[in-house]
């Protein structure tokens, strides 16, 4: 973590003497960061057209792009976490006969989600730069 936490400001003490402010900053930093799977799900939601951005579409997109066959439980848990962070929003759609008359839940990425993806990409790029330099 160290001194590169952008939002912790003066609250951040030295890493050698962690106190409550440091711990809060660390938790906030972790909450602000995107996990690998969160990033994949967020990218899938962003890529898909609005009519396909529901569980089945997202699952197929992830399977197609990454070759990983993920469960619906994992996708929905991640999407709910992203929704709590304010990165995506959802709405209930129409019920269709092939789903046994059950409604779809559509997801849409929000501006903070796009910013989080950009930050994540910048982090990866800077780390990639270090790899090339090293």
């Amino acid at each position: 973590l160290g001194e590169k936490v952008p939002f912790a400001g003066s609250l951040l003490p030295t890493a050698a003497s962690p106190d409550i402010f440091y711990l809060v900053a660390k938790i906030e930093f972790r909450m602000d960061q995107l996990g690998r799977f969160e990033e994949v799900v967020l990218l899938a939601v962003m890529r898909l057209p609005e009519k396909d951005a529901y569980g089945v579409g997202i699952r197929r997109e992830i399977a197609e792009r990454t070759g990983r066959d993920v469960s619906f439980g994992a996708i929905y848990t991640t999407l709910e976490r992203l929704a709590r962070k304010g990165y995506v929003e959802s709405r209930m759609g129409e019920a269709t006969p092939e789903r046994g008359g059950r409604a779809k839940r559509y997801f849409r990425i929000k501006a903070p989600g796009i910013r989080a993806l950009e930050r994540s990409r910048e982090t990866i790029a800077s780390m990639g730069g270090l790899v090339h330099a090293g």
């Binding site: 089945v56 439980g73 092939e98 789903r99 409604a103 779809k104």
Partner: protein, 182 residues
């Protein structure tokens, strides 16, 4: 002038036959179980040919013969294409036996998940089920359905998650703790 008109009529009628051919092939691909036979196509094309013959003054014999030959050729092609379409459609039809979602799994999802989660997740699993039936054996699809159900419940219901974790801890304690106690 009559030559131009007859040529035009020939083209129009030929296009009609082409459209009819495409329509019949499309229908046979859409629903292979439906009884669409070559006879139907022949009957319709014969009607068009009769119509042309009734106004035969506009068409010379060569054109009629050419049209007839083309129609016969198309009939043969049609027969071949319908067979090909049905053979490709029949493969998944044999593997996609209708599989009813396991009632108990649906009940458990309804029971342990919130209303919105149950609607969305159960709907997604049910929608994906035919693809899994085509991919695996119907029994494999049922196993997949149950696996998705249990994973969704464990991930979404804190009580079930707690029960699972505490159960695993108890099993671990029983396995490793009993040895230490002795």
């Amino acid at each position: 002038m009559p030559d131009e008109r007859s040529s035009l009529e020939f083209v129009v009628k030929y296009q009609q036959i082409e459209q009819l051919l495409n329509q019949v092939i499309a229908e046979s691909k859409r629903d292979p179980s439906e009884k669409i036979t070559v006879d139907q196509f022949v009957a319709e094309t014969t009607a068009i040919l009769e119509d042309l013959k009734s106004r035969g003054k506009l068409l010379d014999n060569n054109m009629l013969a050419e049209l007839h030959r083309a129609t016969l050729q198309r009939e043969q092609d049609l027969e071949f294409e319908i067979k090909a379409a049905r053979s490709t459609e029949e493969k998944p039809a044999t593997s996609t036996e209708p599989v009813v979602p396991p009632t108990a799994a649906c009940f458990l999802l309804d029971l342990f998940l919130s209303r919105a989660d149950a609607l969305a997740i159960l709907g997604d699993i049910v929608e994906e089920l035919p693809a899994k039936v085509a991919q695996y054996h119907p029994w494999g699809a049922r196993v997949w359905f149950w696996s998705e159900t249990m994973r969704a419940i464990v991930r979404h219901n804190p009580i079930c998650r707690w029960l699972l974790i505490s159960g695993l801890l108890r099993i671990g304690k029983w396995i490793f703790g009993s040895g230490a106690a002795e």
